[in-house]
Symmetry: C2
Subunit: 495 residues, 2 copies
């Protein structure tokens, strides 16, 4: 892009800095090209083992807490050991102690099977070691993240502007959204008089955010849900009115576009109407479910997203990026600049060009930020949005197939589903007490998890212990669904 | 660690999931072993180029904002392209647009030259894709992070317990510390009546944290500094008394163990005395400087660390880990559990063993957390703490050598230094006005940065434009220091 200046020709840094062993007294951590390649090849083999054994080994290791601690506990190492030994320990010691979230029969929580392209991109991001504080510190990486924000916005239909920030995940995205809403309301009321609203099914990160921000726990209003676990809008409205009459200031409503429990989607349009009429911030937590808005089946969500003040959306969930990368899309970027843009001499920006003046630290809590955008950029470029949306659509279809079979099996009881999550339980007859059914299902789940052949997570729905299966996986097939239900029936029947 | 169960022998998942191309209608993102190896080799080459060219190319690219945006802007890609093309673009397109922070003459901000072992470990962390929410979700990784916390604690001499959490960086660590201090005080005063204290030189992240948490900007007290830019403790004490008399509640004092501007270390012992006497939370921001406590020269800091309630410390700064990994060490873990441990049905923990019950989400904002500990664990094991401390010691020596030469050069004026940061300016004679000196030094810095042969950051010290050099680098040698000063003298002399 430019001719090399005189200093470059006159002196080769590289020749010198590659003389890896100590110059003077201090150790150098550099590797020669040969060493880098040789060790890199071992790293690559380890990465392959992680991907391969992550699909072949038991999903959860059987090792207990004290065994693992004994294996790993040690005083601070004063002397180093060979790099090869360290690399070896990743596969020999750590890999067998991993939960293999990318396994085709991993149905727990909302954890994805990471696209190898994303894994590779993350490796490159570490080698580039960009800290995305501001444009001047990472020009190319900053522009990559800004284009990724525009792509994510386009994918789900938010504002079309791509304003926002990549975060470490949905919890951080939700926190930033609430921090903005609360701050905006500070002018009319101190925090102990503010109130925020979400359903009883809302993600715990929003409740925690409210508490951290200084909204009293009892003013974090948990609105009851209907039979489909969707926020009851008429109760939301009643509570808003009641709080206003009591002198409290309603600050934000957090709606879920895909709850973590059953995938329930709150009545977003009705909630948007309420927020508009009441002039209250609408945040939509789409950390898990927002990408489904790109499918035909869930396209209606787009209309509500377009009315929200902020939207969370996690590429490390249903966009198949490795941990971590979350995203907050934000309607009005001047608000985040007003909250987070605290000037300092040390970080003063002297650029005048509007692109070059941009600083992520004006829009979020983090100063040094990992180059999380590279993996999202690389996955979207390599796969194309259409293939990703097709995979999301297929995950939803697999959940529907799971529900179909639950409906056909007399001893399985369906408890709720939406998007790619289904909750159900084994109930052989109506003779058992609720306590017995709970106990039996706990036994089923623990047996499956212990055997390591599949993985579900437990949850409680209206006090009942439920088996919860979540499919956010490009590897899962209908055979995996059948395997899971066969296991539930087998263990339940034997129990 | 255990015999494989029946399901494993009866059916090889792996054979199936390796038939990479589409099964049924949906695309698979898996690669065959051959493809993984072939692409992995290209990734490895790209990573090597990032490390190599990061030391050979101009440190900052000359490309302007609109050029980079034009290069990267595009609508959301609907169709994918070959993975090879994407990998190629990392080196061909993005690498020339990076700032090369690992370059031996990168003297800007507090950014490290990452240890290749850390880069490799980060790649493996992405392949393992552990989400460190709780022990049950990532047993081995959780224990690795907990042992890393104990090692970091031991390295700098905090509590010996290793209580705390790895974060995305110092800003997040500082935020968590203040969130705890503020929350603890909620019982005695609402946030608009709380006050926090730090010096005018304190890191911007603590000011932002106070604001986000709802402490009014005017109650974020910026205590003036002495000539060495250290907090003036007698003024801190006076302000504390005055605020109490005015009915405010002093909540926390944030002291710096290595300010970002000049590396200044606040009078930690005196501040600890004040905090003890006044029963106020003492947070020490050692994001940059804390590891220096492991050197003989700065060992005295350990005594104060042992008295603090919380301490920030960034392995992605002076412990040579790639971005991101910060750390908050915390005296009393029950406090973080009380603030962040909001129970939910979905995340309910059924384990009874104390090791297995542990959940990081009870101690911080994040739910899904990247496996940041692996790179710190791997670097400490491969290099040993002694070699790292030796490198830190050498960086400090290089700063002292830089100061020595500044003292010998009549046209250079020393403005302040501590740890591995030195601030100075070019001042050929006493004839120039302050404005002229500022302008000349701005010209020097911009020329150096534009030429790409070295990199310093600007700051303002008592309103004067200063050249700031920070050495957090295992590659920097005395020749690099001389090169930098030669350049300053050459450009200043010609200007």
């Amino acid at each position: 892009m430019r001719l090399y200046p005189a200093w470059r020709r006159s002196r080769s840094r590289w020749t010198r800095s590659c003389q890896c062993v100590s110059r003077g007294a201090a150790p150098s951590f550099d590797l020669s090209h040969e060493e880098f390649q040789r060790m890199g090849q071992r790293v690559l083999d380890s990465m392959w083992e992680a991907v391969r054994r992550g699909q072949e080994d038991p999903i959860l290791p059987s090792a207990r807490g004290h065994e693992i601690r004994e294996l790993l506990d040690a005083p601070l190492p004063r002397e180093g050991i060979a790099v090869d030994e360290v690399i070896e320990s990743w596969v020999d010691t750590l890999l067998p102690l991993c939960r293999h979230n990318g396994h085709p029969r991993f149905f727990g929580y909302v954890v994805t099977s990471p696209d190898p392209v994303g894994i590779f991109a993350d490796a490159m991001a570490s080698a580039m070691n960009q800290g995305l504080t501001a444009w001047r510190s990472a020009p190319g990486a900053t522009e990559v993240e800004r284009v990724v924000l525009r792509w994510l916005d386009e994918l789900v239909g938010f504002s079309g502007e791509g304003s926002g920030i990549l975060t470490s995940g949905g919890s951080s995205a939700n926190f930033h959204a609430l921090a903005l809403a609360v701050r905006k309301a500070d002018v009319s009321a101190p925090r102990h008089r503010q109130a925020i609203y979400m359903s009883t099914e809302a993600h715990v990160s929003m409740k925690k955010a409210g508490r951290v921000l200084g909204v009293p726990d009892e003013q974090i209003r948990l609105v009851p849900v209907d039979a489909s676990r969707r926020m009851r809008t008429e109760l939301l409205l009643a509570w808003l009115h009641q709080d206003r009459e009591a002198g409290l200031v309603p600050v934000a409503v957090c709606a879920s576009a895909g709850g973590a429990n059953t995938g329930a989607i709150d009545p977003l349009e009705q909630i948007a109407d309420v927020c508009e009429a009441q002039d209250v911030w609408l945040h939509i937590d789409g950390a898990y479910g927002a990408p489904a808005a790109a499918t035909t089946k869930y396209a209606l969500m787009r209309d509500s997203f377009a009315r929200a003040d902020s939207l969370s959306l996690d590429p490390h969930k249903w966009l198949f990026a490795p941990v971590d990368v979350g995203c907050l899309l934000l309607r009005d970027e001047t608000l985040s600049r007003a909250l987070f843009g605290w000037e300092s001499e040390y970080t003063a920006i002297t650029q005048t060009d509007p692109i070059e003046r941009f600083a992520f630290f004006d829009h979020g809590l983090e100063m040094t930020r990992r180059f999380r955008g590279l993996k999202v950029w690389s996955i979207l470029k390599a796969r194309g949005a259409d293939a990703i949306v097709e995979t999301i659509r297929r995950d939803i279809e697999l959940r529907e197939a799971l529900d179909d079979r639950i409906a056909r099996e007399p001893s399985l009881e369906h408890l709720g589903s939406e998007l790619s999550i289904s909750c159900f339980r084994f109930r052989p007859s109506s003779d058992e007490t609720e306590g017995e059914v709970d106990e039996l299902n706990r036994h089923i789940l623990e047996t499956i998890v212990q055997e390591g052949s599949a993985y579900m997570s437990p949850t409680y729905l209206e006090g009942r212990y439920a088996l919860r299966a979540c499919i956010v996986n490009f590897r899962t097939t209908i055979e995996d669904i059948d395997f899971l239900l066969d296991e539930v029936l087998r263990i339940g029947g034997a129990g």
